[in-house]
Symmetry: C2
Subunit: 383 residues, 2 copies
């Protein structure tokens, strides 16, 4: 009997049943007053979740689409972009910038590390002619589970005068992320993450500073064009036929987030992640991001114990317990496995996960005190 797959990957994430049932309703016309009312609620609640007074645009695309929506509305060929890279997704910003003809410089750290604000500060101070126009950042790097101190980094970028463009794909909902308060100029995210709905929608919010740069962009993207989206968003519409069913589901999911309260959602993710990290350490497992202060609350990367392979762990978890955890990406493949605690995740899910992981490691011959992970998890969850 195998029909209970549970995803503990950093996306797609689990979806509440009420949301799934909404998505299964027959599509309605995207130009109907009924759909316009749904969009009105969605746009209002997106501002609440993004904690911004600015518009939040809703794209029918992958999260990468929203990354393109950011840079393709800002960059002219020859512009200088500084990309702060923690891993794959930090590198994706750099690639998109290059695809628009930007001159890209990178500050890159090892997998699991974060950007040292002092190093950014020094680099920005050296830029006396203010050549750097845009700095791209990753809040929570999905490929490693490291999280930057976005607040500090964005304040340095603001002091320099460049535009900060932040990937919040796995951070929005999972971690405090306050664009207006922290001075994030452009922030993007995706639906299959903290938003508790399937993939297919992505989000972008930009402030007035970013709009000034947009106005200088000679060839903004047609599909992702900010001006088209602003006009449509303000009239509770969309420029093109959107993913109607996913938006109906999003409306329900956003109401659930609002009912819980965004601060409580953030705190739940923090509690889950820190309890998971403590439990993993109690199983004698090493974490890629060693310090809790640098940890993303969305995703935790774990090194396999000596003599036990990542594929063996993932296979046993999948075959015996129907739990899916992620492998590492690219050069981290088979070097780490990643457990997501993102979105619609409960204490019970964490208990299942640690219990199943203990059983998996026990079967595979890892040395640890059986029960110790669960003991630690329960203690931490009830602190």
């Amino acid at each position: 009997m195998k029909d209970k797959t549970f995803l503990m990957i950093p996306g797609p994430t689990p979806v509440p049943e009420s949301v799934m049932l909404d998505i299964a309703k027959h599509p309605i016309g995207h130009r109907s007053s009924e759909f316009s009312s749904i969009l009105e609620e969605v746009y209002t609640n997106l501002k609440y979740v993004f904690q911004t007074q600015n518009d939040v645009f809703l794209y029918t695309s992958s999260g990468t689409g929203a990354m393109c929506a950011a840079l393709e509305n800002l960059i002219n060929p020859g512009d200088k972009v500084l990309s702060l890279v923690l891993g794959n997704f930090g590198n994706r910003w750099a690639k998109i910038a290059e695809s628009r003809g930007a001159i890209v410089e990178k500050i890159e750290v090892n997998a699991g590390e974060v950007i040292n604000p002092e190093i950014l500060k020094k680099r920005l101070e050296e830029d006396i002619n203010k050549e750097i126009k845009i700095v791209t950042l990753t809040h929570s790097e999905t490929s490693t589970g490291a999280a930057n101190d976005i607040q500090t980094l964005c304040s340095l970028i603001r002091a320099h005068g460049a535009l900060s463009v932040v990937d919040g794909v796995t951070s929005v909902c999972a971690m405090p992320c306050k664009p207006d308060e922290w001075g994030i100029d452009v922030l993007i995210s995706g639906s299959q993450k903290g938003f508790m709905i399937p993939p297919g929608l992505a989000f972008l919010t930009a402030n007035e500073r970013a709009w000034k740069v947009y106005e200088q962009c000679k060839n903004p993207s047609f599909y992702f064009d900010w001006a088209s989206y602003r006009k449509s968003t303000r009239s509770n519409s969309t420029p093109f036929t959107p993913a109607v069913n996913l938006i109906v589901g999003l409306n329900t999911a956003l109401k659930m987030i609002k009912a819980e309260g965004i601060e409580n959602v953030n705190m739940r993710h923090k509690k889950h992640c820190l309890a998971l990290r403590a439990a993993l350490r109690a199983l004698n497992l090493e974490l890629l991001v060693s310090e809790d202060k640098n940890a993303s609350y969305a995703i935790t990367s774990i090194l396999p114990p000596e003599g036990i392979s990542v594929p063996a762990i993932r296979k046993t978890l999948k075959e015996d317990y129907d739990i899916v955890v992620a492998n590492g990406q690219n050069q981290l493949k088979d070097k780490i496995f990643r457990i997501g605690t993102l979105g619609f995740v409960s204490d019970r899910d964490l208990i299942s996960c640690i219990g199943a992981l203990e059983s998996t490691l026990y079967k595979l011959g890892h040395k640890f005190a059986l029960g110790n992970g669960l003991k630690t998890l329960i203690e931490e969850l009830n602190k």
Copy 2:
């Protein structure tokens, strides 16, 4: 009791219950072997439906995204593009080309008319220096319901040497459309149309001639990049997290199309459209596209009878019979209404629609022989 809305608009179109239930399943990991197997079936069946030996790319976007995916991988600034415009969607090609810095020339016809091949032939013959690099065309113009003779137009373009880029958003499935046989170089379509699934996915296929032009494109789109999609498609994957749930639904829908047979699907649309047109005429209604040979089999535009307004007809159909038909767009708003016969539409649906329209027109005081529409429809459907 009002919970039976039936869409007879040109998209979103009705979705089979089995497809809706598949979409309502919990998302699975987009890098799992299970999802890869689904993609393998989907990619194979997309080639069948598109009647091509070339790859068909699957984008998470609106249909407009696929239009961008076409031109943003082909155009360099300064390139000359000839746009054949029947209405809004033909104009959209022109706008996208302009957004990439192309010099756009248009051949434009009145609403409801189609491109005269002789006029295109003449224009292409005048282009002795072969300056025109790309010709954009619309197969079925959704805003008017007119359909071009794509086969003839594309053969003229091939003779000239330019690339033909065809919008098949509402034609693929509804009408014969054979890119390999007819020499269409790039063809795009969207999910919420003949494909019988909700909006959120779009498709593109390109031949070797188009790939040669792609190779000269200096800054291809990052999100829609053909090379990334070809690589992923050939390994039964996607470059970015796709709309997993919609793809699971698409797999079921494509199997239904294959079981019916694409020629039979085309013939069903033709039969429905021509029967509808005959029935509408039997109700003393005037059609925007007067000749059957120029009619799209996906969508029919109707002029309201004198003294009865389009909003009154749409309102009565919606409020009394829960049937949604489309208004005209832009300058055609309130001048026409449009009935879709696209995708998952049966003889019974046509009978409901004509019956409800007769009742609507009867209530609104239109003069016609009550029952005459249904009589004609039944005769035509059973020819």
